[in-house]
């Protein structure tokens, strides 16, 4: 079920937002609205569903309304129109006291410039959310200590925030947010104020924590690399409008318009995409117990020169056509003795690394997941296509503005042909 759902949110800043709402609904541009009424259009008709247990990144440049949007989720800002549902509850219907309880229990938030209380110790800051809930001091200190430990800050609890570096201060902010045990974590440009090295470290830490905690995280950023690194889904805002919402691959492989494409220009695609994106259509798999004659027949039928052979779910090796022929000639009971070893790469390996491997050897490469289970065979053409071509470049006709499916289909088709060519080369 969707954890957070916003429907048709409008936000107009100014003294009389309601008066200009209909104009905004009818599509008056941000500039025109500002000129004619002095009101600023913050958000226009945003509808977004945020699924439980994932990291949903909301990306946009400054002024795109992303920070405004995230503040609607816990009603730090009230919308001019629209509906906000959290766990199916309409947040707009909450009375002031209920809203306080809702903020205490459902959501916690991490801020760009940390938002720590300068006159309280690190421990008191980490325990702040619990103190607001009314928890007794001994218990909340114990919990806060636990979370400070989790973010790697034990030993600093008696310090004051200004004695800590930026990265450490943000860890306190993170510990404070995690300590309340809220299911939803709102992170407003949480790592943007940190230097690149620390930022990377914090991203790793967040991913590691998320792997254990499985929170619903809404992460705001203006940095596409960060968005692609963290997000299970990415929503892109521009001038208060939602331009595209999809998986990182959707964004990367089929950007909705030129604006997003211009964003993607500087992305190192080899780093963002990994081997799992370049797995070919699963051509033909055999098992260890396959009869040689049967194997040969299936290879011949598909016109392939090799086939992956599985032992259970694991990859046992590859059966070349010549070897299959040999097995038939020798009258073997199965193909298990005629396999050649097949190199494999983990699914999470970046395409830049994969490409380097492909260049070193002409042999086929298998892709396996974390547990070593076979996912498929790497498609050379797909790797090359993903790393080099812009989706709207030479393949423009297939992908521009279209849903991801046709693009995928087009590339699998191309890959089918390429695969057999590779086979012949081997």
């Amino acid at each position: 079920m969707d954890k957070i759902e916003v429907r048709n949110i409008y936000k107009i800043f100014g003294p009389h937002p309601q008066r200009w709402l209909s104009a905004a609904r009818e599509g008056m541009s941000k500039e025109e609205l500002l000129e004619r009424s002095g009101h600023t259009l913050g958000l226009r008709d945003i509808s977004l569903s945020i699924a439980a247990g994932g990291i949903h990144v909301i990306m946009g440049l400054s002024g795109s309304g992303k920070s405004t949007l995230i503040r609607h989720f816990n009603r730090l800002i009230d919308p001019s129109a629209g509906q906000i549902l959290v766990d199916g509850v309409d947040v707009m219907g909450l009375k002031p006291r209920e809203l306080e309880t809702f903020r205490q229990q459902k959501m916690s938030m991490v801020f760009q410039r940390f938002g720590l209380l300068p006159h309280r110790t690190v421990l008191d800051n980490a325990a702040y959310g619990l103190a607001v809930q009314g928890m007794r001091r001994a218990e909340r200190n114990q919990r806060a200590m636990h979370w400070l430990e989790q973010v790697g800050l034990s030993g600093f609890e008696a310090q004051y925030p200004h004695q800590l570096s930026g990265g450490m201060q943000q860890r306190v902010g993170l510990a404070r947010a995690l300590a309340t045990d809220a299911e939803i974590l709102l992170m407003d440009e949480a790592f943007s104020a940190l230097d690149p090295l620390i930022r990377h470290e914090m991203q790793d830490q967040l991913l590691a924590l998320q792997a254990r905690l499985n929170k619903t995280i809404v992460f705001i950023t203006h940095d596409l690399d960060e968005a692609l690194r963290l997000g299970n889904r990415i929503a892109i805002l521009k001038d208060g409008e939602l331009i595209q919402d999809g998986t990182p691959e959707d964004i990367l492989l089929s950007p909705a318009n030129d604006y997003i494409e211009s964003f993607l220009q500087d992305v190192n695609r080899g780093k963002v995409l990994n081997a799992s994106h370049a797995v070919g259509e699963r051509p033909l798999t055999l098992t260890m117990r396959t009869y040689p004659a049967h194997a040969l027949e299936r290879l011949a039928a598909r016109g392939y020169d090799y086939a992956a052979v599985l032992d259970g779910k694991r990859l046992a090796g590859v059966l070349m056509r010549d070897d299959a022929q040999r097995a038939v000639n020798e009258g073997a009971r199965d193909i298990s003795r005629f396999l050649t070893d097949m190199a494999s790469v983990p699914a999470s390996e970046g395409l830049d690394q994969v490409l380097a491997r492909l260049l070193r050897t002409p042999a086929p490469l298998a892709v396996t997941d974390d547990q070593g289970e076979f996912l498929g065979v790497l498609s050379r053409s797909k790797v090359v296509e993903l790393v080099t071509t812009r989706p709207n470049g030479e393949n423009g006709a297939d992908a521009s503005g279209a849903a991801p499916i046709p693009a995928e289909a087009a590339s699998t088709h191309a890959q089918g042909q390429a695969e057999s060519r590779t086979g012949q080369a081997a």
């Binding site: 730090l76 309880t101 809702f102 938030m109 938002g115 607001v132």
Partner: protein, 284 residues
């Protein structure tokens, strides 16, 4: 010559009549109502004048120590106060000090809530700003006259005049301090579900404290400046000594008493500043 559109006399007369009426009708009621205040002033005066001098010096040193945690500083403050006694101004200093302490206490009790209200509600702010301007620029004699008419010569009238004159800085700086609180810290507090009261006492006031302390410091200084004027409505103390010096052309007497006021000012200023600095150090 500017044409006389409205006769000044016509404007003045109703005001005079109003004040006179007020004095006739309500001065008894007002005096009865303010009797506890007068009692407080007399009690404070007696307390300071009847306590042994060394006890007062020890208390001031103690407060200085709490404010600064520095031994040298608190000894210096004690020595300054001792010097006042040494040049024969002890009695007068204690009278001034008692009036000032009560006036500052009232100013703070009044000023901080008003400052909070100004920071919280725009309309309070727009209503209060001109009032504060009037309080700060209106010559104090102007309101001294009706105050004396209502409360008679003496401590009570001096207290009112001093509070009116001294309260604006603490109001202004409380308002400013609260509005200068980092909006993100306040937002964080809201995001975690803090109630309005909790935001005020847990975030806004603590973070505004350095500014509020600066306001209290200014208020104290202005209260001290008022003591000379208060002496003209019959309050004894350092100001009275200055006034006597002027009246009798005794330059030495006036100068010494004037220096006494300066010394008191320095003691107050330094101690309140140290309080503010320590807050700032923790909050930096």
């Amino acid at each position: 010559m500017f044409p006389e559109l409205i006769s000044a006399r016509d404007l003045q007369r109703p005001i005079d009549a109003f004040v006179n009426g007020l004095v006739m009708e309500y001065s008894d009621v007002l005096r009865a109502l303010t009797q506890p205040l007068l009692d407080l002033l007399i009690w404070a005066d007696n307390l300071l004048r009847q306590s042994p001098w060394w006890a007062i010096i020890l208390v001031v040193m103690g407060v200085a120590w709490v404010a600064s945690r520095k031994l040298r500083f608190s000894v210096a403050m004690g020595a300054l106060l001792g010097a006042l006694g040494a040049i024969g101004l002890w009695e007068a200093s204690m009278q001034t000090l008692s009036l000032m302490l009560v006036a500052v206490a009232f100013s703070v009790l009044l000023g901080i809530p008003v400052g909070i209200a100004m920071a919280s509600f725009r309309w309070v702010r727009s209503a209060m700003l001109p009032v504060l301007d009037v309080m700060q620029t209106m010559p104090s004699f102007v309101y001294l006259i009706p105050v004396v008419m209502l409360f008679n010569l003496g401590k009570l009238a001096a207290l009112f005049a001093t509070v009116i004159y001294a309260v604006p800085p603490v109001i202004r700086l409380t308002d400013l301090g609260i509005r200068l609180v980092d909006p993100e810290v306040l937002e964080a507090s809201r995001a975690f579900g803090a109630s309005r009261t909790r935001q005020l006492f847990g975030v806004q006031l603590p973070l505004a404290l350095p500014n509020i302390m600066a306001g209290i410091n200014q208020t104290t200084m202005m209260a001290l400046a008022m003591v000379v004027i208060a002496s003209m409505i019959g309050v004894r103390g350092l100001g009275y000594e200055v006034l006597q010096g002027i009246n009798r052309l005794q330059v030495g007497r006036g100068l010494l008493a004037g220096l006494g006021i300066v010394v008191l000012a320095i003691i107050f200023d330094r101690i309140t500043q140290k309080f503010g600095q320590r807050q700032q150090m923790r909050g930096a």
